[in-house]
Amino acid sequence: MKPRRVFSLTAALALAAGLAAQVTYDRIAAASAEPGSWLTYSGNYAGHRYSALSEIDRSNVARLRPIWMYQTNDLNAFEATPIVADGVLYLSEPPSHAAALDLRTGRPLWQFRRAIPSDVGVCCGQVNRGVAVLGDRVFLGTLDAHLIALDAKTGHVLWDRTVANYKQGYSITVAPLALKDKVIIGVSGGEYGIRGFLDAYSAEAGAHLWRFWTVPGPGEAGHDTWEGDSWKTGSAATWVTGSYDPALDLLYWGTGNPGPDYDGDVRRGDNLYAESLIALDASTGKLKWHFQFTPHDTHDWDANHVPVLIDAAFRQRPRKLVAVANRNGFFYLFDRQSGEFLLGKQFGKQTWAKGLDERGRPIPLPATEPKPEGTLVYPGVHGATNWNSPSYSEQTGLMYIAVREEGTVFYRATAEYNPGSYFSAGGMRGIPGVEPSGSIQALDPLTGERRWEFSLHSPPWAGVLSTAGGLVFGGTNEGNVFALDAATGKALWHYQAGGAVYSAPISYRFEDRQYVAVPAGHSLIVFLAGR
């Protein structure tokens, strides 16, 4: 009995010390220097989803085994990325729940349960992609479009703000981004004719600080890219967590499809800032620059990707860069200070564009718009990639992306807008007799060239994690969790988790051991390499 008591006492002390710690802005801004933790959605503000931990490497990854699991008890897809700090793992669960888990055992320290109104409308499942942590607070967006601050020690609600009216089709599925003294939150509802925006709230009091409308109103720049009143239902949702450059104080965020999705005739024009990368001053919410990937799109190719910030020499000149692999099948590289388009290259199967012009604007092929009788286009409605996180390895200098090869027959119809109702003006189906597939690709972000490709049985929904152990971790729809050699793409380990992987793995260190955590099926599974 005695040794156990000693262990418990040590554990209690460690936990007490851990919970007393603060996840300060300075810690998050320097997250790469603290690889034992996972302090923000993508691991660092630069959107790298890279772990500098190297204990798990090519030589021992085959010995990875589950060490504990946590089950969500909800049948909606488990799309969250956890946050790990000071001995505690914070995560959201579908539909809009949150929990704090003891890293040693996986046991919940607290659970927060949110009742969701039955008339909330969501296109793609009652999901949530994660929480943000700042100071001693946990921030959670909810399906009924609230932003909530919880006490990190207890899960008690500290404040609760209505971000938007869910009865108008707004919802929140995105993980908030916490920076400085504020919390950035986006909205979902691109299939419900919302007018999209990105919001900032003060972390302390929940005061509303700024709003950037992703569909400009009358008198604002870009408003003339919408015919008539179509801007009012222009969508351009902000449902995937963006990146942040603390030195430039610029936020980089992707925006979703213009609404209605498939009938472009009712919204003639380029439809800014739908399907764009927007760079905003984080202090004021003012637009610094933007780039629209797919002007006037009718294929639902949201640009809701994690922008990857890279500092590297591009054509012999040191540059601050931002890279995006887009749902429309092209990879893009920009100067992130000026927004200058530097290069674009096709990475996924596509049949809709001849290519990109010198400014990065696509040159569409004729007859690729949805028709009442159907139009077959690659990429399909889910894109050549989707929201699934990319990863940038600071070790290999490569960017890893989960790629979908799947076409769609797009149908156009007409839709009448009713607040809070589905508003897409069409539909889609798969291609008869074709079983879609997918892959993990390694791209050189400075050239867009593909270094290797690992084939997947079906188009992935899971993102990827790269590590300093020379590994790339990912998951499949069929429940495989796997590790590839980051240099060659060779499969080194796989584990059947028994449920589809919808999120991306993370890695952290606890008591001097490296762990990999992966949401799979309805469980969070934590792996450790046996010695």
Binding site: A77, R429, G433, V434, H457, E478, N480
Partner: protein
């Protein structure tokens, strides 16, 4: 006069409503369930009671979320469109609930003897397991589809995947595969399941194999091919007619 005026006022709306359900059906349902709903790769919907959707609320839900574990996907549409589609699907039942004419008893004999159907297909507790279970085929497929499938089996291969499906469940498509092991052994059969790293196969002697793909020298998947023989010229027109009558009478529970 008011009656006529009211009729004239209402008529365009009624036409519009009927048109909506039908046009939605053509986009979302007809590719699998046939233009008239009597079945294709998907079930025959022109029946009095749909096994997976006995009432309107369930049908509405099936349209929204699909039927997990089958090729039936969920479909995103407005509540009003969903309601119109439910009404339209319910209106199909008058089209074909009858068992096809013919000598069912003779059709049953053909099934189990000359046709050899029972070697691969199950009806109730009897039959083989290499092909699809036909216990309730009469509730799922109409006579036109069955005739086409018998004459040209490759016209009737189910598609496993549609764009709505975010996850591939166990494929129910009886895809014919050929695996060659490192030591040169060839296994031919139907795919039971597959993921990125493994595949499970049932061979034509009903043995089940599980392979890691990296253990295989070769893996060939016969997309678009069916192990079922075509019955053109193998059965007389009367035998075919009777066999279809027997098949449409199969309304058992799986």
């Amino acid at each position: 006069m008011w009656g006529v005026a009211r009729w004239l006022l209402l008529m365009p709306c009624l036409l519009c409503a009927a048109g909506t359900g039908e046009s939605l059906f053509r986009i979302h349902c007809a590719p699998c369930h046939g233009q008239d709903g009597t079945g294709g790769r998907g079930a025959n919907l022109a029946v009095a009671v749909l096994p997976h959707a006995p009432d309107d609320a369930t049908l509405s839900r099936v349209i929204t979320v699909g039927i997990p574990g089958t090729a039936m996907p969920g479909t995103r549409m407005t509540a009003e469109e969903n309601r119109q589609l439910v009404l339209y699907v319910r209106s199909l039942y008058h089209l074909g609930t009858a068992i096809a004419e013919g000598d069912r008893a003779n059709g049953e004999r053909v099934f189990w003897s000359k046709g050899g159907c029972g070697q691969c297909h199950t009806v109730g507790a009897r039959g083989g397991r290499v092909g699809p279970d036909l216990t309730d085929v009469g509730a799922r497929r109409g006579p036109a589809y069955l005739r086409a499938a018998l004459l040209d089996p490759e016209s009737a291969i189910p598609e496993t995947f549609t764009v709505y499906r975010r996850v591939i469940y166990m494929p129910d498509n009886f895809l014919q595969v050929r695996a060659v092991t490192r030591d040169g052994k060839t296994i031919t059969g139907v795919r039971m399941d597959e993921d990125t790293f493994t595949i499970q196969i049932r061979d034509f002697s009903d043995h089940i194999y599980s392979f890691r793909k990296d253990e295989l020298q070769d893996l060939h998947e016969d997309w678009g091919k069916s192990p079922m023989p075509g019955y053109r010229g193998r059965l007389s027109e009367t035998e075919l007619h009777d066999l279809i009558s027997y098949l449409t009478s199969l309304r058992g529970t799986r």
